[in-house]
Point group: C2
Amino acid sequence: MHILIIGAAGMLGRKLTAAVARAPARPVTALTLADTVAVAAPDGFAGRVETPAVDLAAPGSAARLIAGRPDVVVHLAAVVSGQAETDFDLGYAVNLDGTRALLDAIREAGDAYRPRVVFASSLAVFGPPFPDRVPDDFAPQPRTSYGTQKVMAELLINDYSRRGLIDGVSLRLPTICIRPGRPNAAASGFFSGILREPLAGRTAVLPVPDTVRHWHASPRSAVGFFLHATHMDTGPLGHRRALNMPGLSASVAEQIEALRRVAGQAAVDRIKPAPDPLVAEIVGGWASDYEASRARALGFTAETSFDDIINVHIEDELDGRPFAATEAAQ
Amino acid sequence: MHILIIGAAGMLGRKLTAAVARAPARPVTALTLADTVAVAAPDGFAGRVETPAVDLAAPGSAARLIAGRPDVVVHLAAVVSGQAETDFDLGYAVNLDGTRALLDAIREAGDAYRPRVVFASSLAVFGPPFPDRVPDDFAPQPRTSYGTQKVMAELLINDYSRRGLIDGVSLRLPTICIRPGRPNAAASGFFSGILREPLAGRTAVLPVPDTVRHWHASPRSAVGFFLHATHMDTGPLGHRRALNMPGLSASVAEQIEALRRVAGQAAVDRIKPAPDPLVAEIVGGWASDYEASRARALGFTAETSFDDIINVHIEDELDGRPFAATEAAQ
């Protein structure tokens, strides 16, 4: 099996590549790892690897990526929410036109070529007002250009799949927590920051009340979603190929209690409340819980406790040793 | 006020043009009537009229149409459902790219130009399974490329409106009944045919059981929707600018009973049952009733009895005299 990952240089792209290379559930004989920058070939993968540096939105790029007829295309490439809001043209060019160029390159390939296409969508396709728990058939009403572009791409994937041109699945991802790396300017950044930074011995700012409730899944779960989608039976999807991915609904207070259980009071003491009305307002417009029963029935799974989400981070990012534990051992 | 109608040569375009020219609720000083063919200037209109023949999907066309800075743009131009299904490229080029080109031409006009844009969408944005009565917040799940293109255009109109680039409204039209003119190949054609043809003294074929229920509005109501949308207050729409238009839910049996009341048994006798399983299957995948409460609350109105729908046709298309009445007068 030949897998093409577009957006392979991103956080999820790198983790997915490593997971595919490390322990493929089925024989992966070739990997094409595409991004706007050339990515490194994964360690320990015996198959053929190509690492083209291409801009999906540029003319001819999509056809070039499809030329090797990958059996599975995982499309992670995107301009993120904040940038799509500030750069109107770039957001539409990459998130909408880039995706459409990919689908059209497949359509124009001929030879009855019909790959599995797994598309990274987002729960940002939805907008307020929200019920306490968002059902699977809730109508997308995006409040950002990013969310608009994602739901438009989902609609293309449904239509191209219905016409038998691709075999598509769109995964609407929860907020990924704990996101590794440095703090960023995203309004959602603190959900990871209040755990990641204390676990690394650094202080973190909490800009919202601890009653705020949100929907989370670990990077490891997200990788699992994509792996599952590469080989799941798409028959039960019918014509509705966009799925709300499972996650864990937790309040900030519950996140903090989990941190206390896993890493102790010293870690919790590194969280510094600093109310930010703007962040509180943005986050207040997000849903706090999703049913995701359709995806669960199809075999997608995520963490069921925040302790697990924290432990995934400690195992995958901190070699099993959070800062507090290191201190205690000294 | 300067109104641009794109798709002015079509059935609704011609009726809307006539209505605007005849009795403008507010002073219309200029009309631009665009279509792929040049249309005739309306009778009795004292203002300035331009009738450009342009293909909206062709480069530069949208900018040319927008050059005169119309205050209101009514966008009716579309490749219809059946053609969008058989001609993939044409459907996307006109229904999606054409609409986007229009919106981008407005965006690029500068000068804080922000016209009202009224977009002819369709209830084809929805797909089965349907509840008995489709609520306003039912999630669009189109089953055709046409429906896909319409909901994608709606999403653009929402996003461009949210960003303050246009002041948009999307009207999801019911099936128009009684559609004037000759019988056509559309699967929905019989809903009009079983009334229009007998009213003209001709026989009509009924391909489905008379228990089939559907959602109808007259051409006159549809024109009223567009007129209302040109000057309604869009504030109450918030960020959700697509509206399910009101209509009348009626079974074929109820249509036929109305025909009997209005035009007599002789007219009903001209309907010839000729079951067509393919048509029955297509129509069976359509919804039979819609709440449309949001649109009604905003001032959109439609007929409340099929007698009225038939009488609208007799008044507007038959000079007040159906064939049966003519016969009786001889």
